[in-house]
Each structure stands twice: as C-alpha cells, then as structure tokens.
Amino acid sequence: MIEPVVKEVTVPADPEAAFARFTEGLDLWWPRGTHSVSEAECASVGMEGREGGAIFEVDRSGTRHVWGTIREWIPPRVVSFTWHPGRAPDTRQTVLVTFEAAEEGTRVRLEHRGWEALGDEARATRDEYDTGWTGVLADYTRSLMAGV
C-alpha cells in the first residue's frame, strides 16, 4: 500500500466557519489558476454541499470539469469525497477532511489516500500532492486569517 498524504493545519475560525469555508466557500480561496484542469482559463470552482454533490471547476468557455463527488457530508465535522481532477473517474482516490475544535480555532486534518487506483502514476502523483496540499492548505488558512 502507498501511504496516505496527511496534512494538518489549525485555522483561526470555529468549526462551522472552517467547514463552510473549505466546502461551499471553496471558490474564495482555492488557487484555481495553478491547481485546476484549465489553469489560467479556470473561471470558478465549487463544491455542492450534500452527499452526492460534485466538486468541480468551470472554465471560461463554460465547460464544467468534475473533480470528484462528496461521499460523507457531516457539517461541521467531516467531509469526504472522491478525487480525480483531470482524470477518468476510475482513477479516483479518496480525500477525508475532519474539523475539530481546538483552543486557537479549528484543527483541520486532510487525508488523501487510495493512490493505487492511479497505477504506474501512483507514486509520482502522491509526491506531487504531498507538496501540493501544503500550499493549498496554506491558502485556505490565509483566507480565514484575512477574515473575509
């Protein structure tokens, strides 16, 4: 088994606000110019807040690219979803994000696993995400610090 990527950040917000920002507020902080299928052509990203809801981007031509599907939706504690941006759904991995109240705000833990579905690309993709999630979660944390 290829070990999961696990990241943890503490954000200055209560769990409800941290959860809402991560999910329905995705477009407010996601680095869509670099972390998307259409990159510079990416117009918006979003997450439909319900079990079975899509995580998606919309490019400037209006085409929607689905990144994954929400499997568990338990605000403000847990959201988990399948994940296959830019790839066929049968390469999907799983991302689990949990939110736990901490003294200084909320501890957010992200676990990305199921790399085996990527076959030959599994190891390299995992290493990219290991760096990638650190930057993405830094953007998420910053957006909550700004209090916007």
């Binding site: 606000a17 809402a20 329905e24 507020g25 979003g46 807040g49 403000p76 916007v148």
Partner: protein, 108 residues
C-alpha cells in the same frame, strides 16, 4: 406552537438547513452567515425570516445588527410528529407478534 408542516417546510430547503447548522454551535449575525455561504444577503435574510416564522430561530438586537440564535425547542412539534410514527410502528410490531397467523412468510 407551530404545526409540524410549517417546520418541515422551513427545513425542506437545503440552504435553510445549512443556516441552522451554522448557528447551532453559536449565535451569528446575518453578515456572518453571508460570509460563510455562497448566498446573497437578501436571500439569507429571507431564509432567516422563514426560519423565524417557523419558530426555529430567534433574533436578538445587538446595536445595529441582529444576532440569530437556534430555538431547539421549536423542533419539538416536529419531533413529536415523527415519534408518533415510531409509536405506531411499535404497536404494529406488537400486534403481529401477538397474532401468530399474521406472519408475512405464510402468505394468504
């Protein structure tokens, strides 16, 4: 005391359920809720009005803004309504247990 139907109507909208979930832990102002959900201020105010009329939230004036609190007791009529089905299910179960001829697998 509101009718269960009015409470169900209020809860039938996913955005209104999200608003209730957001103020469950602590009271929040309209602008705070607006920052948390991808919904405009007029829409949030409208949803809060429906929730208030259904007895599920109460507004507290604080300076120039209003802070919304969850009224958990407002869910009581709906809770009792749902529980009444459960009591019915228990009665039916008991009845089928008492009557040995009333077993599905035996057929007509």
């Amino acid at each position: 005391m509101r009718a269960p139907a009015q409470i169900l109507d209020a809860l039938s909208d996913p955005t209104r359920r999200r608003i209730l979930e957001l103020i469950r832990g602590r009271a929040r102002s309209v602008s705070e809720v607006v920052r948390m959900l991808p919904v405009s201020q007029p829409a949030v105010s409208q949803h809060l009005r429906v929730l208030r009329e259904a007895g599920l939230v109460r507004a507290e004036k604080k300076g120039r803004s209003r802070i919304y609190h969850l009224r958990a007791q407002g869910l009581e009529p709906l809770g009792r309504y749902v529980a009444s089905f459960w009591e019915g299910a228990l009665d039916a179960y008991r009845a089928s247990f008492d009557d040995p001829h009333d077993r599905e697998e035996e057929g007509p």
